[in-house]
Amino acid sequence: MKRVFLFLFAATVLYVIPVQAQGTDFAGEWSSRCTEDFIARCGMGEQLGDYLGIPLNAAGRMRAETSDVAEWGLPEFQCRPHPSPYQWRAAGNLRITKEINPVSRQLTAYHVAWLRSLDRPIYMDGRPHPPEHAPHTWSGFSTGKWDGKTLVITTTHMKQGYLKDNDVPLSDKAIMHEYWTRHEGLFTITTIVTDPIYLEEPYILSSNYELDTQTELDFFPCTIIEENISAAVPHYLPGKNPYLNDWLTQYGVPEEAARRGGADMMYPEYRLKLKGSK
């Protein structure tokens, strides 16, 4: 009898222990409030040639300056989703849902969807990242783990794309780390993008969303209007992009301050370099 009791006791303990330590619940509908980069996100959009605060290396700068946003209109790229790093600053709201193991009731994945995204799963079940020969996607392959109440996410296997929609490049070798935190109805996401091809230092950005129980995520707003193969690829020959300085003259910003991008201009000491420039 005593033995049976012990067994039952042990079984109860075993049953209790596997309950998962849940960090924070991020599920819900979240609205973008454009509290950062208002002009780019909720105003007129990113300006061509504006690489302010982005640690572009020389290759990244050349890629940005020779790209033509007309590439977005290629028949093959109509309705191209944004890459994951850019999604946080793109227009539109956000939905996060939970995938739950119906038996254990443990969180196995978060799913994130933005206005212009495919599903982006963030696996919480401890699975490894795929091998190098696995395909890349717009969302990339994400795994998350808790650091206290903060969710730390690592994303690999992203497709080539852009860090900003004015053709600041993102290579398919880039990796993104995210730190999700929540304070009541405020959701803060800090992203750190490392790109060995186009960035000379990690690009760090934080974005905010607000819980919004009165919103719904809309249908991906896009319709394919031309089904064909591109006859030519739009781009500017090196040094021939005529639009890069437009925003500088508009805002009266010295060219040295803004157009080129680069790691040094992310730090306060950079202001000293600008003394004397007009």
């Binding site: 020969h133 395909p135 996607t137 290579s171 781009h235 020959l237 090196p238």
Partner: protein, 363 residues
């Protein structure tokens, strides 16, 4: 205590998997210690990585069809992997690869409740299906190197006077474009040459294989003059050979008739055939000659990059720059970190040489 229970549970799960037919496939796909790795692509088609150029394998009830055979040094490993894959897929009581294509219904078993498929469970598994066809997308040693061993290991089903005529070699059928045969004939003995070639723009296997049509499309001046795309029409997979890579600029073998514009045409042909599943992702999958599995979006980016490079070099030529000046101008600087190389068999310098040669020869 909990950890012990957990590991005991895992042992049980792994043991259970071990008893089912899935074990072979799991090991092939996730066994990271294997030199040859297997990636299930779509439908019947699997991609084998690590044997030289990428290899595509169609596995099903009709047998095995292999596109490219890797290097000669890896042939035994490829053969072993293909046999394991064939065993895992065909001898599995619960097929991992569902039947693909219009003929699926024919294969539904006609025995009703007295289904002899129970034998799959209660007896030892059937042997792997044989390799019946080998296709080469081009003539490079890292794509045809395993031919001798892999073709020999296969079978061709023939009958009557054909089988006894001595003209048909034992082993699998070997299919290439005619230009590949011509070049192979310069160095290889007769019994290692392709058994079937085509000289028109396209060639279709005369019958379904593993429930689908298999089509070869000749791209006349791409990596060489003998490149073929191989299109699995129900699995919806295109094997691109050296027209597509995710690890380097395309190898343009100018001596053998390769050209930058031919590569771009080949990539456009892939885009013309393929259809993305949704929002430019998934759908028709493309196995490149080298590197990771891709979809059409990756092909678009590769094509765009090559078109940009071509346009820049063309512009420099028309401005009167010499080859040395073009190289000094670093016109591919923004792509070199991703696609270029200063060492190895195909450097950025060699790529620019080839493009320059193409573009000045066209004049």
């Amino acid at each position: 205590m909990r950890r012990t229970l957990k590991s005991a549970l895992w042992t049980a799960v792994i043991a259970a998997i071990g008893f089912s037919g899935i074990s072979g496939l799991t090991e092939l796909v996730y066994g990271r210690q294997n030199q040859i790795q297997v990636l299930p692509v779509s439908g019947n088609v699997y991609m084998l990585v690590g044997a030289g150029g990428n290899i595509a394998v169609s596995v099903g009830r009709d047998g095995v069809l292999i596109v490219d055979t890797g290097t000669a040094a890896n042939a035994d490993k490829v053969l072993e992997t293909v046999n394991k894959l064939s065993l895992a897929v065909n001898s599995n009581p619960m097929p991992v690869t569902p039947c693909v294509g219009l003929r699926c219904r024919e294969f539904h078993n006609p025995y009703g409740w007295s289904n002899p498929a129970i034998n799959d469970i209660i007896s030892s598994p059937a042997p792997p299906q044989p390799i019946r066809y080998v296709i080469n997308t081009n003539i490079d040693p890292d794509h045809v190197g395993g031919n001798k061993k892999i073709v020999t290991a296969g079978v061709t089903y023939t009958g009557g006077n054909i089988a006894s005529s001595g003209a048909v070699p034992q082993g699998a059928g070997l299919i290439t474009h005619e230009n590949v045969l011509s070049r192979m004939a310069e160095t290889l003995p007769g019994d290692e040459l392709p058994t079937e070639t085509f000289r028109l723009s396209t060639f279709k296997l005369s019958h379904f294989f593993n429930g689908e049509g298999v089509q070869m499309i000749h791209m006349p001046n791409a990596h060489t003059d003998g490149d073929s795309l191989v299109y699995f029409r129900y699995s919806d997979v295109i094997v691109a050979g050296d027209i597509m890579s995710t690890v380097s600029y395309p190898m343009i073998d100018v001596e053998k008739g390769g050209s930058i514009n031919g590569i771009i045409e080949g990539l456009n042909k892939i885009l013309e055939i393929g259809i993305p599943e949704f929002r430019t992702q998934g759908g028709t999958m493309v196995i490149p000659g080298h590197g990771r599995l891709t979809d059409l979006a990756d092909v678009v980016y590769y094509r765009d990059m090559l078109a940009v490079v071509r346009d820049r070099i063309q512009d420099a030529i028309s401005r009167g720059l010499t080859l040395q000046q073009i190289k000094a101008a670093r016109l591919t600087m923004d792509f070199d970190g991703r696609w270029g190389s200063t060492t190895g068999p195909w450097t950025t310098d060699m790529f620019i040489d080839a493009v320059h040669k193409n573009l000045t020869a066209n004049k």
